[in-house]
């Protein structure tokens, strides 16, 4: 007695289903579609046949012979890995010692620099203040000189007008 399937897939749909069959083989434990197809395979002989072929193709692939590579290759590759690491470390050391060494002072060095700046700033400030004071005396001196000149002029005027020398009589 032949079983008539409850439904038939078109060729296009069969191809799409085959793709899903493949994907379901990647996650056979949790893929709902694998269970659905298993149920469909019970009634669809061509799909069941396809499933068996796919399954056996993978099974045969797993049985392909594995060859061992030459053991000396591993040693040669490790040598290159070591050489690469040494090269990287040498390059990083060189970049640390050249170029910015002037700016790479230890912490205490920066404290001394700061102290120096503060002291030199203070000295400069003192020097500037002294100069400022010296400059401020000049107008006073000038005024005194001009007053002195006036006094001398007045004395001369007194001597000439009154024929009287105040310094002689003092």
């Amino acid at each position: 007695m032949s079983v008539t399937p409850l439904f038939r897939f078109s060729d296009k749909k069969k191809r799409l289903n085959e793709n899903r069959l493949w994907l379901s083989m990647d996650e056979p434990e949790c893929n709902e579609e694998a269970r659905v197809f298993a149920n469909i395979c019970a009634v669809d002989e061509s799909l069941r046949d396809k499933w068996e072929i796919l399954r056996h193709s993978l099974e045969m692939g797993e049985k392909l012979v594995w060859s061992d590579p030459d053991p000396s290759l591993r040693a040669s590759i490790l040598e290159k890995a070591y050489a690469a690491v040494m090269q990287t470390q040498t390059a990083s050391q060189k970049s640390e010692t050249t170029g910015a060494s002037l700016f790479r002072l230890p912490g205490w060095g920066w404290i001394w620099v700061a102290l120096f700046l503060v002291l030199s700033g203070g000295v400069c400030e003192q020097f500037r203040n002294a100069n400022d004071n010296a400059l401020r005396l000049e107008p006073v001196d000038m005024e005194i000189l001009s007053l002195q000149r006036e006094i001398n002029q007045l004395r001369m005027d007194i001597i000439i007008e009154f024929d009287f020398d105040p310094d002689e009589n003092a």
Partner: protein
């Protein structure tokens, strides 16, 4: 098959890259040396080419380890390097790479028609050995990209989504190539099914 988890392998590469840990790199070599070698051997069909390729690929891994992203799978990354290496080699030697139409034009003779009847011996183990020899022979004749998909999935157990990343092809294209591979190998697979499970032949 690749031992260990891809996340672990990614961490090993990062340790090599950031701390110069060569022992971590050695563990990667132990995990991937044999799968890579067999992949190259089946794809390039030449032992010397496979050994040269293996060295070159690891040198590329050392030079390009800066490009590895932590969120990616290490197996995809290293097989991608191997895939690119093989394609470059084929292009230099002017081998045909993407020739999927070749499958359709294959000789329509069933494999059984061209194999002498006395090839198969009564012993089961010998039968399986013969079968695998036939499979190896047929794999050699496959177009490169189709052969690659079949080997990565069937022999190495790499999922199709990862194969799509390795080949930088859409998932549908990868599945189509697998379909072509199975179509190519169908005569041998049916023979294998017949020999491994005689009930299958009876029900068919």
């Amino acid at each position: 098959m690749i031992t260990g988890s891809p996340n672990e392998h990614g961490q090993l590469l990062l340790r090599f890259r950031e701390k110069g840990d060569v022992d971590a790199f050695d563990r990667l070599i132990v995990a991937y040396q044999k799968p890579l070698y067999n992949y190259l051997l089946k794809l390039l069909q030449n032992k010397e080419d496979a050994e040269d390729g293996l060295q070159e690929i690891w040198i590329k891994v050392i030079r390009q380890c800066g490009s590895y992203q932590e969120k990616g799978r290490f197996s995809s990354w290293i097989f991608c390097i191997a895939h690119n290496y093989c394609l470059d080699l084929f292009r230099r030697r002017r081998h045909r790479i993407n020739d999927e139409e070749f499958v359709e034009t294959r000789n329509g003779l069933a494999l059984l028609d061209i194999i002498p009847a006395n090839v198969f011996t009564p012993s089961e183990a010998a039968m399986e050995k013969e079968m695998m020899a036939l499979l190896e022979h047929e794999i050699k004749d496959m177009p490169v990209l189709i052969r690659e998909v079949y080997l990565l999935r069937a022999q190495h157990g790499i999922p199709f989504k990862e194969i799509a990343e390795i080949q930088k092809s859409p998932l549908g294209t990868v599945l189509s190539r697998m379909h072509q591979a199975v179509k190519w190998l169908e005569p041998i697979i049916r023979l294998y099914m017949k020999e491994s499970d005689p009930k299958t032949e009876e029900s068919a």
